[in-house]
């Protein structure tokens, strides 16, 4: 017993955890919103988040788990410099927030990784190639107009059959898996429908709602916006679609581009502010989760802080508002089996799981199937599949296998990113199945469109 102390020293016991205050100079972070030490302190190192983390599932390494990433943040605060290896593990995080759902201790990993990413963006010198790729993405994605331009060449390619020739070469996959994913969306790229700015409720008016048309949603899934508007209308909502709206800033937030995100947020708040809407309805999970957090994003801006908070409180996912209002429009039967995929930014970030299932199950004839490993991200995660194509693809294939195993005829999910990602993975798996957004299924049921419209031709 007398040797206990020496024994401990030999084993290098350090006693209690170093008290974390402000970042130690020379470490990874500066003093402008470093990852919050108190939030890091909430992590009790229990590991319960590990099995839901897609990168831990893939690679089985501590540093690519939520617990490990939080530990790296702690190291950074304690004075470890921001190294390439550190950054690579934060970069590999999909931001799926499955760890937030899983954590019994209430660790706010979402806030921590956002704070960390903003610091990385400011303080870390990326490789030229990486910088160029990110630059390209951010000059394209948040801008609906530029994205719509891209549709032209894609549609032309599809019309000439060039797309199939190109797919065979595999060149596209190498150049950009994201383009390849878009390209494999062939059947969906119909003629874009432009929504009017005001759509009157059918029957008695129950609410006045604004609709976010989004960038990716608007450009690649215009049918989803049209369906959303029709369903809202049928359920007694006046729908307002402000023309001035742009990107919500989600992609920028998730990638640490804070000032850019704040600009987008300010503009969106402006667009909806005078429009007299009670709710701002969103049909893209990633946008919704960001918009619900505008209060935090604009907290430091005195002229916007209050307004952002008021705005955020009015944001609803389309399934939330429909569930809240309850159905009035009669449903026609749809004899379909459906696998519902929880978009991470809906299930984990917004806690919306029951509502879309309730809405779908209420459709007569429709059978809902659960997907194994449902909490695991499909690998889409904003621009993740562009900057980290390999793990994204692996996760996509894993998701596709689980979806196919349900035997369902149609995959339903509520996020354009997931739809693209899963579509291309399912296409690779060679098991054709229908793909739809939750509101497209509701729309088909309300309008009495045959089930076959949701199936692949």
């Amino acid at each position: 017993m007398t040797d206990q102390r020496a024994d401990d020293a030999a084993l290098g016991e350090t006693g209690s955890i170093i008290d974390l205050g402000m970042p130690v100079p020379g470490g990874a972070f500066d003093e402008h919103h470093p990852p919050d030490a108190a939030l890091i302190g909430d992590c009790v190192h229990c590991g319960f988040c590990l099995p839901t983390c897609p990168t831990y599932v893939l690679w089985g390494e501590e540093m690519d788990s939520p617990r490990g990433r939080i530990y790296l943040m702690k190291e950074g605060l304690e004075g470890e410099p921001m190294s390439d290896s550190m950054v690579s593990h934060w970069d590999a995080c999909l931001g799926c927030m499955a760890c937030v759902t899983a954590c019994p201790s209430g660790v706010q990993y979402d806030t921590l990784i956002e704070q960390t990413r903003a610091q990385v963006e400011r303080r870390h010198e990326r490789s030229t190639k990486d910088k160029a790729l990110r630059g390209l993405v951010f000059s394209l994605f948040p801008y609906p107009k530029r994205l719509r331009l891209l549709r032209g060449p894609l549609r032309a390619m599809q019309a000439t059959g060039l797309d199939r020739a190109l797919r065979r070469t595999g060149l596209l996959d190498k150049l950009s898996p994201q383009l390849a994913a878009m390209e494999s969306l062939a059947p969906r790229l119909g003629k874009p429908e432009k929504l009017p700015t005001h759509i009157a409720a059918r029957g008695e008016r129950r609410a006045v709602v604004g609709l976010l048309t989004g960038c990716v949603q608007g450009a690649f899934f215009p049918g989803v916006n049209a369906a959303t508007a029709r369903v809202l209308q049928a359920e007694g909502c006046d729908v307002v679609v402000p023309r001035s709206q742009g990107c919500c800033g989600a992609l920028s937030v998730h990638n640490g581009r804070e000032p850019e995100a704040q600009d987008f947020a300010r503009r969106l708040v402006d667009s909806f502010e005078g429009s007299g809407v009670e709710y701002v309805v969103v049909n893209a999970a990633g946008c919704g989760s960001t918009m619900k957090e505008y209060a935090d994003l604009l907290a430091d801006d005195p002229s916007y802080a209050e307004r952002a908070k008021a705005f955020a409180e009015r944001v609803r996912d389309v399934s939330e508002i429909l569930d809240e209002l309850g159905p009035v429009a009669p449903r026609h039967p749809l004899e379909l089996s459906i696998a519902y995929h929880d978009a991470c930014h809906l299930a984990h970030a917004q806690g919306v799981r029951a509502q879309p299932r309730r809405l779908l199950e209420a459709i007569p004839g429709l059978e809902l199937k659960e997907i194994a490993e449902g909490e695991l991200c499909c690998g889409s995660a904003g621009i993740y599949n562009v900057v980290n194509p390999e793990p994204a693809r692996e996760l996509g294939d894993r998701k596709a296998a689980n979806i196919v195993a349900t035997g369902a005829q149609v995959l339903v999910t509520a996020n354009p990113g997931c739809l693209m990602q899963v579509t291309s993975a399912i296409a690779r798996s060679d098991h054709p199945m229908g793909m739809a957004h939750t509101v497209e299924v509701l729309d088909a049921s309300i309008r009495g469109v045959p089930a076959s419209s949701l199936l692949p031709d």
Binding site: T14, V44, G47, L72, E80, S85
Partner: protein, 493 residues
Amino acid sequence: MDEAVAAVAAVEAVTRRARELLPADAVVTDRARLRTYECDGLAHYRVTPALVVLPRDAAQLAGVVRACAEHQVPYVARGAGTGLSGGALPHAEGVLVVTSQMRAITDMRPEDQRAVVEPGVINLDVTRAATPHGYYYAPDPSSQQICSIGGNVAENSGGAHCLKYGFTTNHVVGADFVTPQGETVALGGIAPDSPGYDLLGAVVGSEGTLGIVTSATVRLVRLPEEVRTVLVGFESTDHAGAATSAIIAAGIVPAAIEMMDALAIEAAEAAVHCNYPEGAGAVLVIELDGAAVEVEQEYAEVERLCHENGSFEQRLATDPVDRALIWKGRKSAFAAVGRISPDYIVQDGVIPRTALPEVLKAIADLSGDSGVRVANVFHAGDGNLHPLVLFDDSVDGAGEAAEKVSGAILDLCIEHGGSITGEHGVGMDKSKYMPRMYNDDDLDTMQLVRCAFDPDNISNPGKVFPTPRLCGEVPGRKKGAPPLQEAGLAEVF
């Protein structure tokens, strides 16, 4: 000095070997990365390992251990790193051998009620894989969603359902095992019992000090026909304890009887909104399983006994979602305490069930006298206590006060004829308490067993035993007195 230089050179030699044997990304030497492996579930012990390896299979793992043996480099096994006694605490001049990439279920033989799994397989994944065949893996630590079978074997882990079904040791029938010399041996087998010494029995619960398990053959248990889970609210832990004793005395062996006191309920409620009875001073989670008729009968009896012992609310789970929520409250309790206290110690001790009221009262007194809050969660059925000692490390002296209460609780357990650990193991944290339970002869005998497996003391050295012992000179290997002996830190047998 030279010794330190030699140690560094030895690790470098092992690193070179590891790079030959393993894929590049499975050999970790980068400091930031190494540091993420500093601690396990007991995060206030931290040591940065010199090298981390993530072998993909048993051959790679054995190769690394052989290199360690050759260069006399200490190594520590690690599964999921959820251990609560610092068992997987790395060695600063050693190798951490992580099994998290050895996670294949290599054979599923429901007809033989056996599964063969790699050590990194997650406990719950065995059940997930067996369920479609009508079977499950019975030992269910609260950490089952992430802890590894290798870690379970090393800690002889238990869980809520061990009251009826037994601990890990009752469910592992065979193992492949890499000795500290780097040799692979098979222990036990598919058959229920193997002739000769029960070496597998020695390995189960040895906390990685005898070698590393690279494959485990586990027993699968038939899913019960009927399961009933009931949540019972009591005014106090005394009432809940009395009900527990009454149930066992009536000859009923429930699959589980778990107790939580008011503070633990508060934490679980904050974490997972499990909707436990309001105003309860204690709850029991009682699960009955087996043949439907039997469960029906037992349930009526349990209902009556709880009522007679002062329950004010009994809530029977009506569907799997309900049942899962009841269990979620219980299983998240440890980590959930993070919601009501910045820091805490998870204690683990055993007492005879009959001593429960007395020990709980003594714990309450300890808490009252010291002002240190203690939340209680336990496997009431088998007297395994998990007091959670709460403190705020940013307050001066709070950590020491908590440590003192935590130690005093262990003394209580020993005084009442119990043990200093029910299932979390001794590891680094409790080695200092071993002499309170065992005399020198007992400890020496255990050390002799260890020496038989690991004469060079390289497999997870410094854990379990309060004083490191050396196993006599191994001829021709070292010159002069062993450094630990020279420094007065160890004795030679």
